[in-house]
């Protein structure tokens, strides 16, 4: 199955990009990275310490390492600007609304 193989290798690519980005964020500014990645101090320390070869190993499974952080319809519809009557097209209120809900979700998660 060629498509299957390609999809699996795309998962590995996404895993590696994700790990590299996560490590860069953590090294650049740890506190901000905890917020932006939505991870705990412990996980941050582990990712921060990974060597490149370890990262490749970790990334090489067929399972995606990252996942959707929000399972709430409200957040998705605000982000996609759905279901808001009378909202102007360039309105930023729903984006900020989503930001508040997301920030609140993070604090529930940890």
């Amino acid at each position: 199955m060629l498509t299957e193989d390609r999809l699996m290798s795309e998962i590995r690519d996404a895993n590696l990009s994700y790990l590299i980005l996560a490590q860069r964020l953590i090294r650049a500014d740890r506190a901000q990275a905890l917020y932006r990645l939505g991870i705990s101090e412990e996980v941050a320390s582990i990712i921060e310490a990974l060597t490149p070869s370890q990262m490749i190993k970790v990334a090489s499974g067929n399972t995606l390492m990252c996942r959707f952080r929000f399972d709430e319809e409200m957040i998705w519809s605000l982000l996609a600007d759905h279901g808001r009557r009378g909202e102007r097209e360039d309105g930023n209120a729903s984006r900020l609304h989503a930001s508040i809900l997301m920030a609140g979700k993070f604090s529930e998660a940890v």
């Binding site: 900020l96 930001s99 604090s107």
Partner: protein
């Protein structure tokens, strides 16, 4: 002075410099660093290039309850609370980091940061002292800054139910 650790002293100075750079008022520095007033004043002039503004701090809790400020304050405080829980930062560090996150977030949405670092600090103090609190909106389940002791059973936030004139102004950098 002689008994104080040089490292600790340096840390306090760095912190004061960062806070001044973020636009903090002198009262914030006096409260959150242990540097003497004269040094803070000198530092302020050197970093900001001008004398600190005189006069009282904005001390009213009402400011945080009007429509636009409430959105800013709620966004900031949710971020602050997250950092308090997720990281080992002390209160001032969390204030500064959350403020950076808040600034980046509103600027991404082309909104001016209406909440100054000094206001953000007041907000943290008001919530610490129980004058303000976070209330859960019954519709979106988000946490919003609200007066303490307000009835909360039917609370609906300003974003789920904006007041009639809210966001009608087309001023640059405002929420609409």
């Amino acid at each position: 002075m002689a008994t104080r650790s040089l490292l600790e002293d340096n840390k306090q100075v760095q912190r004061a410099i960062a806070l001044i750079g973020m636009g903090a008022r002198l009262q914030l520095l006096q409260s959150e660093t242990n540097l003497p007033y004269e040094r803070l004043l000198k530092l302020y002039k050197e970093v900001a290039g001008k004398s600190p503004s005189k006069g009282q701090l904005p001390f009213s809790t009402d400011w945080f309850l009007s429509w636009q400020p409430n959105i800013h304050a709620s966004l900031f405080f949710n971020m602050y609370e997250y950092l308090q829980k997720a990281s080992a930062l002390d209160e001032v560090e969390a204030l500064m980091k959350a403020y950076e996150l808040y600034q980046a977030e509103v600027q991404t949405n082309a909104v001016e940061p209406l909440l100054s670092i000094t206001r953000a600090w007041r907000l943290v103090k008001f919530i610490d002292s129980g004058m303000l609190c976070l209330t859960k909106c019954t519709r979106c389940k988000g946490q919003f800054v609200n007066h303490a002791y307000e009835l909360t059973e039917r609370y609906v936030c300003g974003l789920c139910d904006p007041p009639a004139r809210a966001g009608k102004g087309r001023r640059e950098g405002s929420i609409h």
